[in-house]
């Protein structure tokens, strides 16, 4: 199978490359919601996994697109998805589209960082890397509370480029490329790009 537990036994693991999320309506407190997920495409080095969020009435209230690679944990090299388990992965493809745009190319031109943080203990996950969710939290923390009070996030994108580690200094570069539309880039020790993000408020 392609689940993480059985993959780990074979020294392979999934690595998240890109993410795009759009939420139309947030579930209320105590409201039950459902998440459905499916594989839309499989390429040699990447696979597209989509998500839909349904509210308690079965209405579609949010979508996500994600792009994953599989790597060998010993040499960190990407696996050829089409050759693994003799093509078996293609059986998982569902011919169903996702109504939100694919993750885009994100370009950041800011030359002065708006924030500099050091990766600390609670940022680090079981693999010794800064956790993917923590980058998102640090990016959300760049915006003032007043912005969240007058608007909400319509679309959020992440492109995970490289790993960062405990003690790394993370430099946050931020462009408002148009009204309520921000591009952000994180560089470790002010050099290599760790990730890029797009945040659109509405």
């Amino acid at each position: 199978g392609f689940g993480i537990a059985s993959l780990n036994e074979e020294d392979y693991t999934w690595v998240l490359s890109r993410l795009a999320i759009e939420i139309l309506e947030m579930p209320k407190e105590y409201e039950k919601f459902t998440i459905q997920t499916w594989v839309e495409n499989v390429y040699k080095l990447f696979t597209d996994r989509n998500f839909v969020i349904l509210n308690q009435n079965g209405k579609e209230v949010g979508y996500a697109r994600s792009i994953w690679a599989m790597i060998n944990m010993k040499d960190r090299k990407p696996a050829n998805l089409l050759e693994l388990h003799g093509d078996e992965i293609e059986n998982y493809i569902l011919n169903k589209s996702c109504p939100i745009d694919k993750p885009s190319r994100i370009k950041v031109e800011a030359t002065n960082p708006t924030e500099i943080l050091t990766a600390k203990y609670c940022d680090i996950d079981i693999n010794g890397h800064v956790n993917s969710i923590r980058y998102i939290e640090h990016i959300l923390d760049l915006f003032p509370k007043s912005l969240y009070e007058s608007k909400r996030i319509k679309r959020f994108e992440m492109a995970y480029v490289a790993e960062s580690y405990y003690g790394d200094q993370l430099f946050f570069y931020q462009n408002e490329i148009e009204d309520n539309h921000y591009n952000i880039e994180i560089k470790k020790d002010n050099q290599d790009t760790v990730c890029r993000s797009k945040v659109i408020f509405k």
Copy 2:
């Protein structure tokens, strides 16, 4: 009832005052565990709620003690627990002890802060306060990764004293009162105490 949803309808809510946790063995990845909880005591202004963590074989692997007050959300004043719903709360008391020490008095004498942080968007909870778990994360972040690699936390205590808000500057004062035994105090804007913590590594 005394559940948070029905209390909120009556404009009351529970407020966490103190917490002490001791974990003897951490559950393994994918291991199921169970948490049991009971009320040990009810006083006029506080109630003691204890917890035990059981591993998948039913062995007790951790304990927690917590102390809660109930406040009126309109005037923030504490409620008299013994008078609410005509003494009904006493019916919930279970005559069962908890094998770990009660939360202690925590004294911090350091005069220079070891860390200064600003409360950011992701620190804030639905009530507009810095989230209780975030204080714990910021305290855990005070210790170097090397300490976690050679030791683990044997006992963790928190005393929540006052609330802090978005934009507050949090000053962290830290004493190693004996080997591997740290007392920490957080003051907002370097004045009022927000919380105190004790962390014992072993």
